[in-house]
């Protein structure tokens, strides 16, 4: 078809007012609105997920910022603690005696020991450390706030309940199924199951008195009603005296052996409560009734309180969540970041100055630039492998040390600092350089005396952002072993085994105790707090010193 023909063709007059045209326009605008809606939904999802993340961390982490403690009045008995050598006293006994007022009357020795488990296992050491620091307290009574163990801490904070449901969801279902089949009945004042039982002569002997495994027969008869259930929790439905019901029945009428008969089995107590419309509860298996009684006494006497958990910040790690703190992790992170800063800041600035101001355009400098850009995108775990193979394997530097951690982190921060420094150097206007050169400064003098000071705010901003990224890095530190268990801060150094904030979060997240879940969230909040502060400093720095030329 030629162009002339196309032009000559008469277009059909479009009727924009027709219904079809209106519908088309409506449809097109609906598509537009739909796209807009997708965008809003996407943003809402992303922001919502961020919100969920923060809320779940705050709600689980918040309880860890307070710690349940008991004000324990301890009589430092001179017969148990030698004033001359207080460190070797029998502090375990002191703690046990201090707990005596709370122990229920007539408690056995085992129950008394149970009561000491309300307190943290470190309790004797807390008392020892106090008495060693204050030797004049021997022979006096001191009142010390002592952390309670993890389950009681969680109980007091309401994280775990005192009583739990006695029956599992599936047990309730099994019972409901029996109820609908009309097997459940009230007999002789007890809720009972009326079951058809085949009294198997192979298992029950006539006696008299009849003998055999009545319990097994009772279980089998119950199983026959729910053939699809393969769950031993089902048999918890029969009361302890249920086999006796069968035994009595057979004793009354030995002719039942070999026949099928209806037997009335009493139901266990929680199921009986269920039948009466109650929801049966039992004591949480993490507590004993003596402990709960003692703990309730403590609460009633007003010695239990929940102060701010300073130990979270000033204690090092511990096996017991109630005693574990972040001091070791923060110290380790500080050392590693210090090494990282001391290495990457001067090296990064020097490299950036060379590449931006001096480097001739040749193969070597091209190679360096490509390398820097690619290093910024190498997965962090690969840097860990580098540290492991080169720093630990080849150079033989100590494992787990903040020195190695800092070196690995500095390799990762270097690209960030170099890129930020180059951008900052580029932003200094040429007139400054030209003026300095014009009055006879050498190129080095121009850069060191004039350009670098003017670029410093930008460089510092980039460095702080790089440090903030380094603070959150976990995988490379894990590979070089910087997740050591550090129970005291005093032994830490730049060449000693250490841990860091993110690796501490990883180790706590792996711990099974309930209390560590909360501590992990709290540690994350502390880490995020550091990151927020660092970023705010970087932004303020930029806003305060950034000049528009």
């Amino acid at each position: 078809m030629s162009d002339a023909q196309t032009i000559n063709r008469q277009p059909r007059a479009a009727n924009w007012a027709s219904d079809a045209a209106r519908r088309r326009v409506r449809r097109r605008y609906a598509a537009d609105r739909r796209l807009q809606a997708y965008g809003i939904i996407a943003i809402a999802l992303a922001v919502g997920l961020l919100g969920i993340l923060v809320t779940s961390l705050v709600s689980t982490g918040f309880p860890a910022f307070v710690q349940t403690k008991v004000d324990l009045a301890i009589y430092v008995d001179p017969s148990k603690v030698d004033p001359k050598d207080p460190a070797n006293g029998n502090f375990r006994a002191l703690v046990r005696e201090a707990l005596a007022p709370f122990v229920p009357e007539g408690a056995t020795d085992k129950q008394k020991i149970d009561v000491t488990k309300i307190l943290t296992s470190d309790a004797p050491y807390i008392v020892r450390d106090y008495v060693v620091d204050h030797p004049d307290t021997v022979g006096k009574t001191v009142t010390l706030p002592i952390a309670v163990s993890d389950p009681y801490d969680q109980l007091q904070k309401g994280v775990i309940p005192k009583e739990v449901d006695a029956l599992s969801w599936s047990q309730v279902r099994y019972f409901e199924r029996l109820q609908t089949r009309g097997v459940v009945a009230e007999e002789g004042g007890r809720t009972s199951l009326k079951l058809e039982v085949y009294v198997d002569p192979a298992r029950i002997a006539a006696g008299p008195p009849p003998s055999g495994d009545f319990a097994a027969v009772a279980r089998d008869s119950l199983q026959a009603y729910l053939p699809d259930v393969h769950d031993t929790a089902l048999f918890a439905m029969l009361a302890d005296d249920a086999p006796d019901a069968l035994a009595n029945r057979v004793a009354e009428d030995p002719s039942l052996i070999g026949k099928t008969a209806q037997v009335i089995f009493p139901v266990a107590k929680p199921f009986a409560q269920l039948a009466n419309g109650e929801s049966p509860k039992v004591l949480n298996p993490r507590f004993t009734s003596t402990q709960i009684e003692a703990f309730d006494t403590m609460v009633a006497k007003g010695v239990v309180h929940m102060p701010f958990n300073w130990e979270l910040f000033f204690n090092a790690d511990s096996r017991f969540p109630e005693r574990a703190g972040l001091a070791g992790a923060v110290t380790g992170s500080f050392y590693a970041l210090l090494v990282c800063f001391l290495l990457s800041f001067p090296i990064g600035i020097a490299a950036a100055i060379y590449l931006e101001e001096f480097a001739p355009k040749n193969r070597l400098t091209d190679l360096i630039e490509v390398n820097i850009n690619n290093l910024a995108a190498v997965p962090s775990v690969v840097f860990g492998l580098l540290g492991l193979a080169v720093f630990l394997g080849y150079f033989g530097l100590p494992r787990s040390a903040p020195l190695v951690g800092g070196m690995v982190l500095s390799l990762m921060t270097l690209p960030t600092i170099i890129i930020a420094t180059r951008a900052a150097l580029k932003a200094v206007p040429p007139s400054i350089r030209e003026a300095a050169l014009g009055i006879g400064a050498s190129k080095h003098q121009v850069i060191l005396h004039h350009v670098l000071p003017l670029a410093m705010p930008g460089i510092l901003t980039g460095t702080i952002i790089g440090m903030a990224q380094a603070l959150g890095e976990t995988a490379p530190l894990l590979l070089i072993g910087m997740n050591a268990f550090i129970p005291s801060v005093e032994s830490m150094g730049i060449l000693e085994p250490a841990t860091s904030l993110p690796t501490q979060i990883y180790s706590w997240a792996d711990s099974p105790e309930r209390g560590f879940v909360s501590r992990t969230s709290a540690a994350i909040l502390v880490l995020l707090g550091f990151l927020v502060v660092m970023n705010i400093v970087a932004i303020t720095l930029r806003q305060m010193f950034e000049r528009k030329w």
Binding site: R28, L35, Y38, G39, I40, A42, I43, A46, V47, L50, L53, S56, L57, I347, G348, A350, A351, I353, Y354, L355, F358, I368, N371, N373, N374, A377, V378, P379, S380, V381, V382, G384, L385, L386, L388, V390, G393, Y394, F395, G396, L411, L414, S442, A468, G472, E473, T474, A475, L479, P502, I505, Y506, A509, V517, T520, S521, I524, L527, L528, L531
Partner: protein, 459 residues
């Protein structure tokens, strides 16, 4: 010890700065303008000659001391001791000698080992003193050399500036050294791995059971290193992550660039970027604490069993982490489409939606693809989320509700705890690391290439 030596050298260097300055001023009897360079430069020149060679010497010494002593130690062993021992056994002998020398005696070391340990200790002491002596004599030599050159005509500024330039070049070479270090260490250890396990098994084997007996008599699996299930798991989790991140990131970018009010854009963009600033260990804990239990509960209510460490939970959380990458890179790509194309489309009577889907997105597609490739490389290399939320057992499945494992998870689990560099289990981690490095590097190079080419098109 080493720290004190380095501090001493730095202090000496600072001292020689003062010395150099004084000497320069004294050379012209205090009439500073007669000097070619200002006294500061003379001081800096001397300080550099004192500090740099000696500190370099200490570092090089530290690197080679171990190897040299080990070699000497092997030579000094009675003839025949190392006959018939392979490399690994010799290493074992050396580490036994070292641990005896350090005072950790397990069992009854042989007389040869005891004697060697004593020699080792003696040599270590000698080496340490020799290092201190050499380092300080080099420093003093430098001081002598540099300070003798000070005279009014000496161009100290040029000397100091040349040294500074040299230092800066050395610093920028660190980037190359790092890459070289990564490539060489990965390649070296991976080749040692492929000595023991054939590459064919590694790249095409379907069975990954790296737990092999380290000590004799330990009961473990046979140890097979077919990495296909690991690669498949990595791809599955990355795929899930992209399925979450691409739609959310892309639609968010479209809304922010084309529909949103400037004020909304200014508040939402930083909020999205917050997602990229959160450390990945936090995402990992979030996956374990919130997402996985929620998915499990949801699965229970609709009667589908979902594993607690399912690929879905890890992938979804990883997707959330990646949203800001996709959104900011697509944002850049859409914003880079020339104004004229947009205006042309509106002039034809297209709605905003039609302009976006029919004009802007096709034009921005290369940039968006580049961003997606970068995000994929990020997802493949991501470690902590999967270490905490994904499985350890390698199973070949495409079901996102089952646990799978990834390359990074295997690297971390194989290398956590004490490692010995001479068993395939450790070396396998380096082989996986090499694959990871090559794949992410290729993806990055490709992505940057696409993005750059596309940018040139419109400039």
């Amino acid at each position: 010890m080493i720290g004190y030596v380095l501090l001493g050298l730095i202090a000496l260097s600072a001292l020689s700065y003062v010395l150099g300055r004084r000497r320069a001023i004294a050379a012209v009897q205090g009439r500073e303008p007669e000097l070619h360079s200002r006294p500061t430069y003379h001081g800096a020149f001397v300080a550099a000659w004192v500090g740099i060679p000696s500190i370099l010497l200490v570092l090089v010494w530290l690197v080679f001391q171990g190897t040299v002593i080990d070699t000497l130690l092997l030579w000094s062993l009675p003839p025949g001791t190392t006959d018939g021992l392979d490399e690994g056994q010799v290493d074992l002998l050396l580490s036994e000698i070292r641990s005896v020398a350090a005072g950790n005696v397990f069992g009854e070391p042989s007389l040869v080992v005891q004697a060697a340990a004593e020699r080792y200790q003696a040599w270590q002491t000698i080496a340490r003193y020799a290092m201190v002596a050499t380092a300080f004599s080099v420093a003093l030599l430098g001081l002598l050399f540099a300070s003798r050159r000070i005279n009014p005509q000496f161009r100290a500024r040029h000397g100091a500036e040349r040294i500074l330039t040299g230092l800066m070049i050395a610093c920028s070479l660190i980037a190359i050294l790092t890459t070289l270090g990564i490539v060489l260490s990965l390649l070296f250890e991976a080749l040692r791995f492929f000595d023991r396990v054939s590459p064919l098994e590694f790249f095409f084997g379907l069975n990954w059971e790296p737990q092999i007996p380290i000590r004799e008599g330990q009961v473990t699996g046979g140890g097979s290193f077919g990495a296909i299930p690991v690669f498949a798991g990595t791809l599955l989790i990355s795929l899930i992550a992209m399925l979450v991140a691409i739609p959310i990131g892309l639609f968010a970018a479209i809304y922010l660039t084309e529909y949103a009010h400037a004020k909304v854009r200014a508040t939402i963009k930083p909020v999205l970027e917050l997602l990229a600033g959160i450390p990945t260990v936090v995402y990992g804990f979030f996956a374990v604490l919130t997402v996985a239990p929620a998915l499990r509960e949801f699965g229970e209510t609709i009667g589908v069993p979902i594993a607690p460490n399912s690929a879905l939970a890890a992938g979804a959380v990883m997707g959330v982490m990646i949203i800001p990458f996709i959104s900011s890179l697509s944002d850049d790509a859409i914003a880079a489409v020339p104004r004229a194309m947009r205006d042309g489309s509106y002039a034809m009577g297209a709605t905003r939606g039609e302009t976006i889907t029919k004009v802007l997105l096709p034009a921005a597609l290369p940039g968006i693809m580049g961003g997606i490739l970068l995000a994929v490389s990020r997802a493949i290399g991501e470690t902590m989320i999967v270490v905490m939320a994904a499985g350890i057992i390698a199973s070949l499945t495409a079901n996102p509700l089952e646990p799978v494992t990834t390359v990074t998870v295997q690297i971390v689990t194989l290398l956590i705890g004490d490692v010995e560099f001479d068993n395939p289990k450790t070396l396998a981690a380096f082989a996986l690391g090499l694959v990871l490095f090559v794949v992410t590097l290729a993806l990055n190079v490709l992505a940057l290439h696409i993005v750059r080419k596309y940018r040139e098109q419109y400039e």
